[in-house]
Symmetry: C2
Subunit: 220 residues, 2 copies
DNA sequence: ACCTGTTTCAAACAGGCGTTTCAATCAACT
DNA sequence: AGTTGATTGAAACGCCTGTTTGAAACAGGT
């Protein structure tokens, strides 16, 4: 850690690494202070206690890390817009080994196991991106009802997020070197083509009119 | 907990709930013992220590919980096979509030944050299901190269797993009551139609002509 | 009844944790 | 220099954790 930075930002940086690696419960404030080259009492002086340090770390993570520029060009085709969205999403999700690495890992922890800090996270970061995706999907399927639109959005998001969530298992399944060939460009291309093909050619939803209709869909 | 069960299985059941809810680090052996109506020293007597209890809990979870019957009917169409796969996968993933609920939550924890216990987990339950999915996808796309087949498999799996991983955030995004309308039947139908449409109509992958073409020849 | 091995129990233990304390240090202003 | 306020430092404090202890309760066999 750079010693010329003020102690507070060194603590935030160290806490980010530590929390992202181990989670709130396992992370130790002593380790954070050692990593930040600060005294054990520094975190209490600057942040009050461990939990407030965590909250401020999460907030500082998504303030400078997760904002993506939304190319609002209404001229481009829906497919191009979706590709841009997927590319932006994946580039953030797959960011590995980069200097601002811990920010993404920390936010993914928040997604899976929400704490009090994830309220503002959803409101300020996730929801705008979600609404943006819904806009794009509506251009594909103007007739789709809201519920199906949500499901489509989750289909796109789920494909992307899987390469962060399921990475450890995926590496064991197909090997690390094969997994490395699934790089940003390849996955952007695959997920976009997969989703566009689905969105353009999937049959309309089956209208559910009564309780017996669900059984009918089961039989296909 | 039923008091007629021997203490050891009561401890396993209680530990499963506790570990699935809070994770290994946050879960307290005292709480486990209270939940199991056992003494605080019981876990040490029966399992040695907390970590061995955790390992045995994970193993007991996938021994009786995660095995799905594979309908190997080669007569049915690929779409029907995929629907069966998605249905089976989702029914396990979405199992919330059911008696063997904690088994799935615990295994998903292992997937995201692997421990020593997840080696056997991947080998004995994940990989067979993954190979089965690859078989189905090969019937859709006999010409696809291996790497694309993996990506397609991850696209299907990612869609399903998202409803477990991203559930907390999804509930905040669209509301819990709307989320509850995305039940097993609806999601099975959606993911199957989405994926089948994609698999049947997505354009073939872009031929790689650059220096990475050597990798393509490697894959055959 | 007696012994024997297993299982339960209440209580205490040792260690690590977040946190607090208070004196020492530093920076800036009079 | 002297004073003031903010920051750092080393050490200690409680508290909560997993774990251990040794006696008590139980079961089965002789």
């Amino acid at each position: 850690m750079e010693a010329q930075d003020p102690t507070k930002v060194r603590l935030l940086e160290a806490a980010g690494e530590e929390f992202a690696d181990k989670g709130f419960a396992v992370a130790r404030v002593r380790d954070i202070c050692v990593r930040a080259a600060a005294n054990g009492a520094a975190v209490n002086y600057h942040f009050g206690d461990k939990e407030q340090l965590y909250v401020e770390t999460v907030l500082s993570a998504h303030h400078c890390g997760m904002d993506m520029h939304l190319p609002r060009s209404e001229e481009s085709t829906p497919a191009e817009q979706l590709r841009a969205f997927v590319h932006g999403f994946l580039s953030r999700v797959l960011a590995l080994g980069e200097p601002m690495d811990w920010r993404h890992r920390l936010m993914l922890r928040e997604l899976i196991q929400p704490t009090s800090a994830s309220d503002v996270l959803v409101r300020e970061v996730i929801r705008p991106k979600f609404e943006r995706l819904l806009e794009i999907l509506r251009r594909f399927r103007p007739d789709a009802e809201e519920r199906s639109l949500y499901a489509m959005a989750f289909s796109v998001i789920g494909q992307c997020l899987h390469y962060q969530m399921g990475r450890p298992v995926a590496e064991r399944l197909i090997g690390v070197e094969t997994m490395e060939t699934l790089d940003l460009e390849f996955l952007t291309d695959h997920i976009t083509r997969f989703s566009v093909a689905a969105l353009e050619s999937m049959p309309p939803e089956i209208a559910v009119t009564g309780p017996s209709a669900q059984e009918a869909t089961l039989l296909g």
